[in-house]
């Protein structure tokens, strides 16, 4: 396969930026979670790209990726449960309105 390693890294950098943009600029809590998932995936893709090109024989990066995916799944489950709980409290999923901790 003759795809430059850099192309893959560019791709994942792009995806990371898109995810960051979504997480920072959207008001909706669920979209913020979506942005976080996109960033997670970009990072895992990076890991697998390096594994493929440099350390193919060792499953270390693979292990990391699997663990990262499981953590992401757990994170999104808890995050969405939080969104649902917050929605019950505020009747909104708008992150700008969750201001009761401001003091």
């Amino acid at each position: 396969m003759n795809i430059p390693l850099g192309d893959y890294l560019m791709l994942s950098a792009f995806l990371f930026a898109i995810g960051l943009c979504g997480a920072l600029s959207r008001k909706n809590a669920i979209i913020v979670l979506i942005g976080i998932e996109i960033m997670f995936n970009a990072a895992i893709l990076n890991l697998i790209v390096f594994w493929h090109y440099k350390y193919f024989a060792v499953p270390t990066a693979y292990m990391f990726a699997i663990f990262a995916i499981s953590i992401a799944a757990a994170e999104s489950a808890v995050g969405l449960a939080l969104v649902i709980a917050i929605y019950r409290q505020y009747k909104s999923v708008d992150v700008d309105e969750f201001t009761s901790l401001k003091g």
């Binding site: 390693l5 960051l20 979209i31 489950a77 969405l80």
Partner: protein, 168 residues
């Protein structure tokens, strides 16, 4: 191979862009699924078959479905944002940060020898190897993961069920 790579990349980037830019929340999640599938395709292309299957199984089958469920439970079911502005007041901050980070990463990647073509790896890491690694070298992280997942499961249930318990 390159064609597949570019097609998959286009799918992935477009999926990610639509996922954060569309007005309708359900559409957002659906294009997020497209993004996940694109990433899974990349994994298959990178000969990480197991990871690709796991990606589809966990992200498409569980995380995205969970998000759809959360949308159903929290908003008007059509998922429309309504007349309010989609982006927050400080959208330029997010956009700016993203552009700066993308630029920095681009500079780093172009600078180094990372841009050159590297030879691909040899034989495929087999499932058996992964399984063995998981219960020998990686047994502590594996167990920690098990504990984390259990804790997350219980935590999610407790957080989401709070209201019901109080009502009783």
């Amino acid at each position: 191979m390159e064609t597949i790579f570019w097609i998959l990349s286009a799918i992935t980037v477009l999926g990610a862009l639509f996922a954060i830019m569309l007005r309708n929340l359900v559409h957002c999640v659906l294009s997020l699924i497209l993004f996940f599938l694109g990433i899974a395709g990349h994994y298959f292309l990178l000969r990480a078959d197991f990871l690709g299957a796991v990606q589809i199984l966990i992200y498409v089958g569980a995380v995205a479905v969970l998000m759809l469920f959360a949308i159903m439970l929290t908003r008007h079911v059509t998922g429309d944002e309504g007349p309010r502005e989609v982006l927050g007041g400080k959208w330029w901050a997010g956009m700016g940060t993203a552009i700066i980070i993308a630029g920095l990463l681009w500079a780093i990647i172009r600078k180094d020898q990372l841009a050159q073509i590297l030879p691909a790896g040899g034989a495929q890491t087999s499932m058996v190897e992964i399984g063995k690694a998981m219960v020998t070298d990686w047994v502590v992280p594996f167990e920690a993961m098990a504990v984390l997942l259990t804790a997350a499961l219980i935590g999610a249930v407790v957080i989401a069920l709070e209201e019901v318990i109080r009502r009783r």
